[in-house]
């Protein structure tokens, strides 16, 4: 194996541990303690606050808390949630995780497909009307805030036309006669968040795919292939396959931000995923949940970045076509 790979992996592990330390320090460095926040919320007497602080070991020295934190992360004993006490963090996270994976998995596919296909089309037909239209629309939606589009979709498609439900992941209190009804309900609730994210996020993938296409179409191998009389659709497929590498790398990195990126989307749609949970946990300073959630976040980001690096290393067209720049 390439020594670069070892170096990269060791480096990622070091980075990961430093991030674990940052994840521990930042939430705790902020003023206010979770017991008194809960006490305010539910009008708890001072004696209860004392008990909670003891119970949650919030008065223990920081290094002891840190050792307990590291131990709990790696043993999977994530403890009890403060805000949903006495439910365990593991239970809550596992209940929320599938919804986030469903929502973000779907958007990753729709964003990637829409973005890359439109980019290939625009790059291939560069200078033509279809290119102008695709590029122009991508440039316009590039900076649209997705939460704004989400609100407008909620209004027009959800509230006015009543096409799709505007919040939650399932109809509250619904009884399903078959698994098919269940799936339809899930998909209907998925529609607006997926649409809002896809319509705003595809643009950067389209632009980078298009630019890479145009870059590649100017390369000698395209010129030679044309001179050899290769049919145009074959050339297009050859160029498109290579133009997909930068956006696929970008998409891989995006996978790392799946959980963190869900915070605002899920909050708007009251979608019961991890993003919404993280937002609530920050507000309530629910350390055990934040510990577990940030741990998972950091693991996914680091793995995704590593994967992106390796994809780039093995598939970079410059490596395959030889260094010429």
């Amino acid at each position: 194996m390439n020594p670069y790979i070892y170096k990269r992996i060791i480096r990622s592990i070091v980075v990961f541990f430093i991030i674990l330390i940052i994840n521990f320090i930042l939430p705790r460095a902020m003023p206010g303690n979770p017991a008194s926040i809960l006490a305010n919320q539910y009008n708890l007497p001072a004696a209860t606050v004392e008990i909670l602080i003891k119970e949650w070991k919030l008065d223990a020295p920081l290094y002891e808390q840190f050792i307990a934190y590291i131990k709990s992360l790696f043993t999977g004993q994530w403890g009890y949630s403060y805000q949903y006490y006495p439910r365990t963090v593991y239970e809550i996270v596992m209940e929320r995780l599938p919804w986030t994976l469903l929502l973000q998995g779907t958007t990753t596919v729709t964003v990637g497909l829409t973005g890359i296909l439109l980019g290939i089309l625009a790059g291939w037909r560069r200078g033509k009307i279809s290119d102008t239209l695709i590029t122009l629309s991508a440039v316009i939606v590039y900076a649209i805030p997705y939460y704004w589009l989400a609100l407008l979709l909620q209004y027009f498609l959800g509230y006015k036309l009543r096409l799709f439900p505007i919040s939650q992941a399932l109809t509250p209190g619904a009884v399903y006669n078959s698994w098919f009804d269940y799936v339809v309900d899930v998909l209907r609730h998925l529609a607006l968040p997926v649409l809002a994210v896809t319509l705003t996020a595809y643009a950067s993938y389209t632009l980078i795919t298009r630019n890479t296409m145009i870059d590649l179409l100017g390369e000698d191998f395209v010129f030679v292939s044309r001179a050899m009389g290769l049919p145009e659709n074959k050339i297009m497929r050859m160029v498109a396959r290579n133009a997909m590498l930068p956006p696929i790398t970008m998409l891989t990195i995006r996978v790392g931000y799946i959980i963190g990126g869900a915070v605002i989307t899920e909050t708007i749609f009251s979608y019961p995923g991890l993003g919404y949970l993280i937002y609530q946990s920050i507000i309530y300073k629910d350390y055990p949940v934040l510990n577990a959630a940030f741990f998972m976040l950091s693991v996914t980001i680091i793995l995704a970045n590593l994967a992106a690096d390796f994809i780039y290393m093995f598939l970079d067209p410059r490596i395959r076509y030889g260094e010429r720049r």
Binding site: R11, G32, I140, A143, P145, Y159, D215, G218, Y257, G260
Partner: protein, 286 residues
Amino acid sequence: MPKKESIIKAINMIIIKNSKGLAGISIVLFFVFMAILAPYIAPYDPYAVVGKPLQPPSPQHWLGTNDIGQDIWSEVLYGSRTSLLVGLTAPFIATLIALVLGLLAGYKGGVIDELISGAIDIMLALPTLPLIIILAAYLGPSLLNIILILAFFGWAGGARVFRAQVMSLRSREYVEAARALGASGMRIMFIHILPSLTPIILADIVMGATSAILTEAGLSFLGLGDPTVKSWGQILRHAQASYALQLDLWLWIFVPGLFIALLGTGFALIGFAIEEYMNPRIRQKI
């Protein structure tokens, strides 16, 4: 070494000859004028209660009034100040940090490079949005805090690009020649390498502006913005919290969001134009 004429030529290529650049600079200037002239063109004081709450749009209140009876159009006009301030200062600070660290890492190499590259790796792998939310929630919601937070989380990508660029420039003939003639490291960095980074620096700032504007609006939308100044994200927040859509007051949401998108697009267009200037192959086929 870029001379004065070539800088003028570059500006000409980026914002006059390039339709994207021209559109981008026009949009940004439009909002700059809106921000400067806000006190003169706003029909009301945006902080004053000037009517009944939750009124629909009317000739007196173009976008209606908000949940406490302030004029929404005046709020929107003043909101341009916040977005522009954050959108210009945060990426400027971030790019400055990125530039200093990128130059040091790329030019000095060795241990300094290892340390800076490590810091870049860490910054790029942090769960940024949740950490920004934590910091904004607990540092206190002031505009200065938000600018500093955005700058702190915004430098790593740029630093990586600058570092790579400096490393490749370091071995160019003209830099080698300067070194052979006895120029100091500082002189080489600032006189010989820095000028050729100008387009990347500008691209980094304007692209950073788009993301800073979107993030600031997102934070304000979540209620983590500065409550004492009007901002577009904050207007959206109040609109959503007052069930504006259910009350059919959709312009209350439509206009501030549109302005966020427009200003963000304006900066992004300038960024695309700079990118095309740096990579002529993309440009020639348009």
